[in-house]
Amino acid sequence: MDKVVIVGSGIAGLSCAIRCAGAGMHVVLVSPFPSERSQSVMAAGGINAVTSDHESGDSVSSHIEDTLKGGCYLAGRMAVSGLCSHAEDIIRYLEGIGTVFSVDEKGRPMRRAFGGQSFKRTYYCGSGTGKIIVSALVMEARRLEAAGLITRMLWQHFHSALIHEGVCRGVLLFDDRTGNLHPIYADAVVMATGGQNALFGKTTGSTQCDGYAAGMLFMQGAQLKNLEFIQYHPTTIETPQKRMLISEAVRGEGGRLFYQEDGKRVYFMEDKYGEKGNLMTRDVISREMESTGRDIFLDVSFLDKATIDNRLGEVRDLCMKYAHLDICRDPIPVAPSVHFFMGGLAVHLNHETNLRNLFAVGECASMYHGANRLGGNSLLAAIYSGNVAADEISGRASDENTHDFTLEIEKKKEALARMFDSQSRFPSLYIRNMLSDTMRKNLGIVREESSLRHGIEELEYYISIADQIRYDSSVNPYDNYSLTGILALARATLECALERKESRGSHYRSDYPETDSTQSFASLVSYDGGKYTVCPDKECFYES
């Protein structure tokens, strides 16, 4: 193929763009903002890989097993094997383009262990792994931009895909600066738009990850997968605008979780799971915290100041800056928060969706993490998936057929112009906030049928009014037109959670608390004129 358009310029979009351009393709890389503003820069902990100098006993197959087990055997073995066996190449590649990894006194990259891993295999760059990788990839992309192979377009929001008879032929974009919709035609389209934070309002991630693109493509015929699997991070602090992540390192250094009862501290994790209770996995701790029904605190004030300064300096600064709290003195008030989405656009092993020439990579695609993601695997998956899609696209012949989308585009322009015309002061943000209330209440850490049904009813209502309301047009038009796609995605997520009548990984049903071995299939959801159909992927359609 000759020309590809990539939507989203985080780590997945950048990786795909660089690889496509490296193969001689012309890439148009679009996003509203430069890569430095993507959620990828927030990844702190690291990226997993078993390399030839691995810890004694570790192996690629151990990485594969850990990943499959962490995901409760819902991710496909072939996909996960591909991911883990290419991890070393990816680390070497990142080193080769100048990524500043943390190194020991001999200059060798250092590794740490993340939860759910049998060995230390997480490479990291200080406390800013995502940021440092983005910086290196941005420079490498710049090399190809200068060579005329990558064209970056900023201020561009995805509007919809140009699809005819099941084949994707380009995208329609909204340009913030001109206020216009404009098409870009290409041989292939790659979506790299990240997770779906907006469904839940405040999360640990970026405001830019709203899930709209996945929702809109769903309405245009793309299948979605495993939406019910949403990772909660147990230790986050509340600020007026977001939930801020308190690193797992705090518990690693001995931090203790407790609540207050009758003036006494109850160390509920230690009481239930023994000495190592505070180090249980994210999903277990989140559920236990929730089941106490109390305000939970994380205490490190008993550690000596030097340990806090040397090992938890970033957490100390963050708490001081955002919560005005001195962790050397006071316990940190924490609560679980939505952190990562295992579900997203359903893709085959080559990262193509069910629509021909439409690909999805990074967090917006669902592939490697099954029912639960291991820390450090999503940066790896973002890069690997970008590479896989690029290799497929560059090796494929361009489709000679064309289609005239003029009429369709004109209609969409008219609909947008009607939105601009509005004199209303009603902010679409009100609906977004109602949505996140609904999702938090009914699709929390513990779910059950009646609340899921209640959530679906509320969603039906929002969807029924969303198109009727006139919105304040003084905000960015994207904020208004994106509502429909976001609501459809939210509804699909609730439907998937309702349909999975078992507990597995991050999906916990109080009415079906056990894992049911007959349900070890991914869930697929499709949309047809307002009808949502969920079915298990029994044929392993996407494992090919």
Partner: protein, 232 residues
């Protein structure tokens, strides 16, 4: 608290000031103040005049993406990590960065930062290994947000001109120190677009949210120069 904001409807329009009343929480960040004012059926100035919602940029809301860089009470800073409790003044005055074209209100077009880096060939290409002692500074410099705060405060930086400012100087250092084969080329472009224009006011370091020691990049670039000259 009164909040004065310099507003502009489009790149072509004239900017104008509007004042709002803020009665929200006292521990809010400037970003939270903007959200608070915007979250109403009707947005009104302190004189009750209806107006449009305030447009501003954000992404991470925790000081690591650089989106929300604006001028706060005369000082260039990130809105999401500047707290009203820490301000000395009892009025909050917000304006967009002056060194970049305004798109709307507090949102500006900083693409010139990337364009300058592209024009000057600022990429590592192939990592050639580097001196371990350089590691910490390379790490620190790789955290640059490309937020433009250093350019806003710099007396020599003018958008569209040939002096590219601190963000550029720091990237020069990363490239030259991680690919020795490119260091001659980078030294040249550094001299042309930074070395010759920098008057060492170093105000860039005072406002840098990542606390990047640009002075260390300058010193290292200069040393690199003399070292190579010696070996010539």
């Amino acid at each position: 608290m009164k909040v004065r904001i310099l507003r502009q409807n489009s790149p072509e329009d004239q900017p104008h000031w509007e004042t709002f009343d803020y009665n929200g929480p006292e521990d809010a960040s400037v970003a939270a103040v903007l959200d608070y004012i915007n979250y109403n059926d009707d947005i009104e100035t302190d004189e009750g005049k209806k107006t449009s919602r305030i447009i501003w940029d954000c992404s991470c809301l925790q000081g690591i993406c650089g989106a929300c860089a604006i001028v706060i009470n005369g000082r260039p800073a990130l809105a999401c990590e500047t707290f009203i409790r820490d301000l000395k003044e009892d009025v909050l005055v917000l304006r967009p960065l002056r060194k970049f074209p305004v798109i709307r209100d507090l949102m500006v077009d900083r693409s010139s930062i990337q364009e300058n880096l592209k024009k000057s060939g600022m990429f590592i290409g192939e990592y050639s290994g580097s001196d371990e002692r350089e590691h910490d500074h390379q790490y620190s410099v790789s955290k640059c947000l490309k937020c433009g705060l250093c350019l806003e405060v710099c007396p020599n930086y003018i958008n569209g001109k040939t002096f590219f400012g601190a963000a550029f100087a720091n990237d020069c250092y990363v490239v030259a120190s991680r690919n020795s084969a490119k260091s001659d080329e980078i030294r040249k472009t550094y001299a042309e677009h930074f070395g010759s224009g920098c008057s060492k006011s170093l105000s860039c370091m005072d406002v840098c949210p990542m606390k990047i020691q640009t002075i260390a990049s300058i010193a290292k670039m200069n040393r690199m120069k003399s070292r190579n000259r010696k070996s010539e």
